[in-house]
Symmetry: C2
Subunit: 265 residues, 2 copies
């Protein structure tokens, strides 16, 4: 259900909460089939989300019940693709789709490990190549060096998940917070795409660099769309001193996002 306090000023489910439900669906689906985090953690491995893209026609309104369907599109040695479909529980109306790419790592060495080694490649039994996911593939999220620094934020206790890293969903929320309510009165999110590059930790400062990336004006379908690229970098304290002015901040890319808004007619 789109819980009332998970909805924005316009009564629509926040994109971050939709993303969270999708990660839950992925987690439950893989746990139920024996290749989820719960099993992987017992053998020193874990899933790492590498890419997530969500396309929506419309967002569920408050109190609406909806389903998130998920399936594995493909599984290879180092990557697996998992898709999502979001539909209304009553009417069957399609709210949107999602695509994600996951890697598996060894929790000790943090190095990629072979997905097909888990239970003799059991995941392959669940691959469904035929099922349609009616949205574009994950694209290259490119941001030029001309992107301007739009905001710097601190990270806190509530940003950190069970893995000790900044929660993947928090990046989505922080990026969407770069626009204010006035903007959201006139624009709705059509597509959100994120490529995770590195992990960040509580205490890191996150820097948001944005640029407007041209939508194809020749494409009539996209005439009312606006696209932005956002690069998030972390500033880590690489000097062990606590004194603020003596800290040396080193900047590393954490993730790259692309947001497409459509003007509300």
């Amino acid at each position: 259900m789109a819980e009332p306090f998970h909805c924005d000023f316009a009564n629509q489910l926040f994109m971050g909460h939709l993303g969270n439900h999708m990660l839950n669906a992925a987690d439950f689906h893989s746990n139920d089939r024996g290749f989820g985090m719960n099993y992987l953690n017992t053998i020193g491995k874990t899933w790492v989300l590498s890419r997530l893209a969500i396309e929506t026609v419309e967002m569920p309104k408050s109190y609406t019940q909806f389903y998130i369907e998920t399936w594995v599109e493909s599984a290879m040695k180092y990557f697996t693709k998992r898709n999502f479909k979001i539909t209304d529980a009553q009417t069957g109306k399609i709210y949107g789709y999602g695509r994600s790419i996951w890697a598996m790592i060894d929790t000790e060495t943090r190095q990629p490990t072979n997905i097909l080694d888990i239970n003799d490649g059991d995941i392959l039994k669940y691959v469904d190549k035929e099922k349609e996911c009616q949205m574009a593939q994950n694209s290259r999220v490119g941001i030029s060096d001309a992107a301007r620094l739009a905001r710097v934020i601190d990270t806190h206790y509530n940003d950190v998940d069970m893995n000790g890293h900044i929660n993947s969903i928090k990046y989505i929320e922080h990026v969407l917070d770069l626009w204010d309510i006035e903007w959201y009165r006139k624009h709705q999110i059509r597509r959100f795409e994120v490529a995770y590059v590195a992990e960040s930790h509580q205490g890191d400062k996150l820097c948001f660099y944005t640029e407007s990336t041209a939508a194809d004006a020749a494409d009539n379908d996209k005439a009312n769309e606006q696209e932005y690229g956002v690069r998030i970098c972390k500033r880590e304290n690489t000097n062990s001193t606590e004194a603020d002015d003596e800290r040396q901040w080193e900047e590393t890319e954490v993730c790259r996002c692309k947001v497409t808004f459509a003007v509300i007619p």
Copy 2:
């Protein structure tokens, strides 16, 4: 269920998410009985949360299923008290309790209205005075003028709920973010109490003033407890100019919180 990505670094449900589940329980319970927001909104009235206190012995761990029971303790002309009990769905273990106080206002005039006017005082049929809520009553949350400014934050799109105000739960999260992960490795939240004084809106800056309030050293039960008061004030832009240095900020109290931590043995 304590969803995996709603849990902190120590695998325990975040207090903010627990609070959100409690507000949902209150909402569903009152909607089901004809005096919830859904009905009130059709007659130009709404519930306003005035006080919330949560006491926990322990927090549900990730993937744990738990129940939130809620009931009306009392209903008067301008205030109603609603309690909560949080128990494990499998074992029946009690995680904690909650107390809340609500007023009803006219959405047009923002003035208090008579709760007992709704459906001829129907709410009185649901009052359960006998049911035990094993925690202290909502106390006076007092903070002295000596409290020091600990943090100033901006408010964004994701902070605002369907009513157009900063979401009640966000204050809880921002307050708990005043302590870092190192603190939470050594301390657990025993009690969180908040008194809501005024509404704030996106664009307001929130200022957090904190002070350590003495726990009763003579009380052996509380020897390992530490208590803090937090006052949140909003700084509104009262000048219509956009230029940052010409803005005139006026500070108004938004809410007062009291957090009690226990040292983890």
